[in-house]
Structure formats: structure tokens, C-alpha cells
């Protein structure tokens, strides 16, 4: 049988991937335009909506780089087009690698890219990875309207409580990513603390000296500063940590 990577990196798969990429961007634009028009109809100031655009665009740059790194990690085994799409649609790097490995295992191959990783095993990985994630969109299509109307009722009844509920859920999410660096210590903890300190200083400067533009960039500055601290301290503590 021909090398499966010829299938995985074939022109046809690149074409499908490109089509899906364009569709996903178009769908994002449709949502954007729908919300923007409704915002104008409701009289939300354009400046406020632009602030949302600017801050989200700036915030999204640095956290997208690890996605590119997972793509680079998956490409030698799964080719470029399939991981590209899996990481852009409904995906996350950790799930994709797990599901791809499972696809190989059920075909009797020890892992990704191992001996005997044939086109048939590649095909089974693509089936498993795809069918495994299909539950979320199905649930959303059938149930999100009902779930959302439940939350809307809470909001209509007591919007102060709804505000607290939203922030509590969000603090729950944040905590899950703060916990491991604290319990594991080392460079992770140093990075976490550096990010926190730079963010606090930026916020202080922004408020004290009324540097409005800093608000949108504070988070990115803090991230880049903390990542630089990770490099600096891992060199300083080489062999110690």
C-alpha cells in the first residue's frame, strides 16, 4: 500500500481544508455582522463595540501560538491538512492527540506514526477523531436554545444574582489554570507570578496615570513578560529546578 502520508498531504485534502477554513471565517464574519447591526439598532455606542474588537484581537495573538506549535507536532504523523482543520474547528490539541492515538491503537498499532501506521490506520484515526467530537455540535443544535432560555429566566428574575453566577463560573474556570502551577511550583509558578505582577503594575499605571490604551494591551504585555521571565529563570536555575 502506498505511504499514507501521500494521502494525508494530498492536494485533495489541502483543498477540503482550505474550503473549511474559508467557511469557518465566513461564519465568524456572519456572526460578527449580525451582532454589530443589532448593536447599532439598540444604540450601543460604536466606540464600545470597537473596544471589544480591539481588546479581543490583541488578546488572541499570543495564546494562538501554542496551537501552531501543536500543528507542527502533529504534522509529521497526520500530515498538515487534517490537524489544521481539527485545531481550527471544534478542536483542542490535547483531545486530538488522544483520539488520534486511540484510532491507531484499535487498529493494533502501538501509537501514532509507529511501524505499520498505514493509510488504513490513518483513515481510522480520522474517523475516530471526527466522530468523537461530533457530540458537542449535536447537543448545541438540539439543546442550547432551551438551556439559554433557562439562564435568561434567571437573568430576568434577578440580574444581580446572574451577574454573580457568571463571574463565579468564570472564577471557577480561571482557578483550574492557577491551581497546577501553584501545586507544581518551579518555572510554572514563577511564570504565573510574573504574569500576575506585570498585570498588577500595568493596571496600576493605567488607572493612576490614566493611560487608557494600556488597558487593551496590559494582558498581552503581561503574557509576553511572563514568558520572557520563564526563559530567564529557566536559564538561571538550569540544573536546580
Amino acid at each position: 500500500m502506498e505511504n499514507y502520508l501521500n494521502v494525508a498531504n494530498s492536494g485533495l485534502l489541502f483543498l477540503i481544508a482550505a474550503v473549511i477554513f474559508v467557511l469557518i471565517v465566513c461564519q465568524s464574519i456572519i456572526f460578527f455582522v449580525t451582532a454589530w447591526k443589532e448593536g447599532q439598532r439598540r444604540g450601543i455606542e460604536k466606540a464600545r463595540m470597537l473596544k471589544a474588537v480591539k481588546s479581543s484581537a490583541v488578546l488572541s495573538i499570543v495564546p494562538s501560538i501554542p496551537i501552531v506549535i501543536s500543528l507542527i507536532a502533529m504534522a509529521p504523523v497526520l500530515g498538515i491538512p487534517f490537524p489544521w482543520i481539527r485545531l481550527s474547528v471544534l478542536g483542542s490539541a490535547s483531545y486530538e492527540l488522544m483520539a488520534a492515538g486511540m484510532g491507531a491503537e484499535i487498529m493494533g498499532i502501538s501509537g501514532l506514526g509507529g511501524d505499520g501506521y498505514t493509510a488504513e490506520v490513518f483513515s481510522s484515526s480520522t474517523w475516530i477523531m471526527t466522530l468523537g467530537t461530533i457530540s458537542a455540535p449535536i447537543i448545541l443544535v438540539f439543546f442550547l436554545k432551551r438551556i439559554s432560555s433557562g439562564f435568561k429566566k434567571v437573568q430576568a428574575k434577578d440580574s444581580t444574582w446572574m451577574h454573580a453566577l457568571i463571574m463565579a463560573a468564570y472564577m471557577g474556570l480561571i482557578s483550574v489554570f492557577i491551581g497546577p502551577p501553584i501545586t507544581r511550583g518551579g518555572i510554572e509558578l514563577i511564570t504565573l507570578l510574573s504574569g500576575a505582577v506585570i498585570m498588577l503594575i500595568s493596571t496600576f499605571i493605567e488607572r493612576k496615570f490614566k493611560v487608557a490604551w494600556l488597558k487593551e494591551f496590559a494582558l498581552s504585555f503581561s503574557m509576553i513578560g511572563a514568558m520572557a521571565a520563564a526563559i530567564l529563570f529557566s536559564n538561571i536555575f538550569k540544573g536546580v529546578l
Binding site: L13, G39, S60, A119, A136, L173, G195, A196
Partner: protein, 219 residues
């Protein structure tokens, strides 16, 4: 602004969401189908079915838990788009909450739905473009991004992001932050629980604690 307009917009968002979600799911399915048809490789049905079944035993409850965690934060439209484009916890949700804050929007208001959609759509487009650039430039980029000097930085993107986010939001909501922080630190000290399973649990316990504080008038 009238209720009729809000209802009409809500219906429109659900229609758009259901359509885009269905199209997205079909497009994803097209990939394995086309690979099988074009190269005539059909992996054994029974093995695939049992693999999918065992994955679904984890994925279906997880999907429900995630939807219940993110839907109140994001609102309907941004939830559809966020799930469609993925990377919710590390990208879309922090972006949306920060956008609400920077645009002075109460997260529990009707306007929050609009701001969240604008934010998640922007984030999705920026992220898609960066991934696309990664695909285009994969050959020159690979050696740069995998340089050993840069490894500590890229290994620690999440602590960098959440250190900054944590400092900002804990300062503003320390009462709400105590419970989930203490619980997650205790859990992670005891066992290495997968993050994806811990998020809904932490969010649920955090909301329960918030409810108790709210009832006692302590928030």
C-alpha cells in the same frame, strides 16, 4: 428597545447558530468520508464503532458539562461560535469576559450578548489567520518555534495567561475566587485530574459557593 426586537434577535441567533453548527459538523464529517471514498480505505466498522462509543462515554457528559459552564458566561451566539471554532478556555472565554469589562458592559445584560459575539468572532478570525499563517510558513517556522531556548516560554503560555488574568480578576472578585481556588489547589495536590474534567466541577462548586454568599448578603 422593545421585547419584540430582543426576541427576534434571539431567534435569529439560534437559527444562525444551528445552521452554522450543522454545516460545521457536516464539513468535519466530510473529511473521513472523502478519505475513505477517494482512496477506498474503509477501516473495520466494528472497531471504529467501539472506539467511538468508548470516546463518547467521556465526550457526551463532558460536552453537556462544558455547555452548562460556558453558555451563561458567553450567551447563546458566542457559545455556538465558540464551540464551533474551539479553544474556549484558553482563548474565547477570557477574550469575551475581558471585552465586556473593557467596553463597560454588565455581563448580565442584554448588551453582553452582542459584545460577546463581537469578541468571540474577532478572536476566532484572528486565531484562524494565525493558524493559517502557521500552515503557510510551517517549513521556515518549525525550526524557530522548536528552538530549545524558546521552549520554556511556549511551555508556559497557560501560566503566563492565567497569572495575568488571575491577578486582574481575583483583585476584583476575591470573595468569589476563594472557593474555587482553594478547591482546585486541594484537588491538584491530591491527584492529577485532567483540566477538562476539572473546569465544570470547579465552576459548579464556585457557583454553589456564590449562591450561599449571595443569599447571606455577603457579595
Amino acid at each position: 428597545m422593545n421585547d419584540h426586537g430582543l426576541k427576534a434577535f434571539d431567534d435569529k441567533i439560534h437559527l444562525t447558530g444551528r445552521l452554522t453548527m450543522s454545516i460545521g459538523a457536516l464539513m468535519l464529517l466530510a473529511i473521513p468520508v472523502i478519505i475513505s471514498l477517494r482512496w477506498n480505505i474503509f477501516p473495520p466498522f466494528g472497531k471504529i464503532a467501539s472506539g467511538v462509543l468508548s470516546l463518547s462515554l467521556i465526550m457526551v457528559p463532558m460536552a453537556f458539562a462544558e455547555i452548562f459552564t460556558y453558555a451563561p458566561i458567553l450567551g447563546s451566539g458566542a457559545t455556538y461560535l465558540g464551540f464551533l471554532t474551539g479553544n474556549l478556555s484558553n482563548l474565547k472565554v477570557p477574550a469575551a469576559v475581558m471585552a465586556l469589562e473593557i467596553s463597560d458592559t454588565d455581563p448580565a445584560s442584554e448588551d453582553a450578548e452582542i459584545i460577546s459575539i463581537i469578541s468571540v468572532a474577532t478572536s476566532a478570525i484572528v486565531s484562524a489567520v494565525i493558524i493559517f499563517l502557521g500552515v503557510l510558513l510551517i517549513v521556515p517556522l518549525s525550526p524557530v518555534l522548536s528552538r530549545p531556548e524558546l521552549k520554556p516560554a511556549f511551555d508556559n503560555v497557560l501560566p503566563a495567561l492565567f497569572g495575568a488574568l488571575g491577578a486582574y480578576w481575583i483583585m476584583r472578585n476575591w470573595k468569589l475566587a476563594i472557593t474555587p481556588l482553594v478547591i482546585t489547589i486541594l484537588v491538584f495536590l491530591a491527584a492529577d485530574v485532567p483540566t477538562s474534567a476539572m473546569i465544570p466541577l470547579s465552576a459548579l462548586l464556585s457557583v454553589i459557593a456564590a449562591r450561599i454568599l449571595y443569599k447571606k448578603g455577603l457579595l
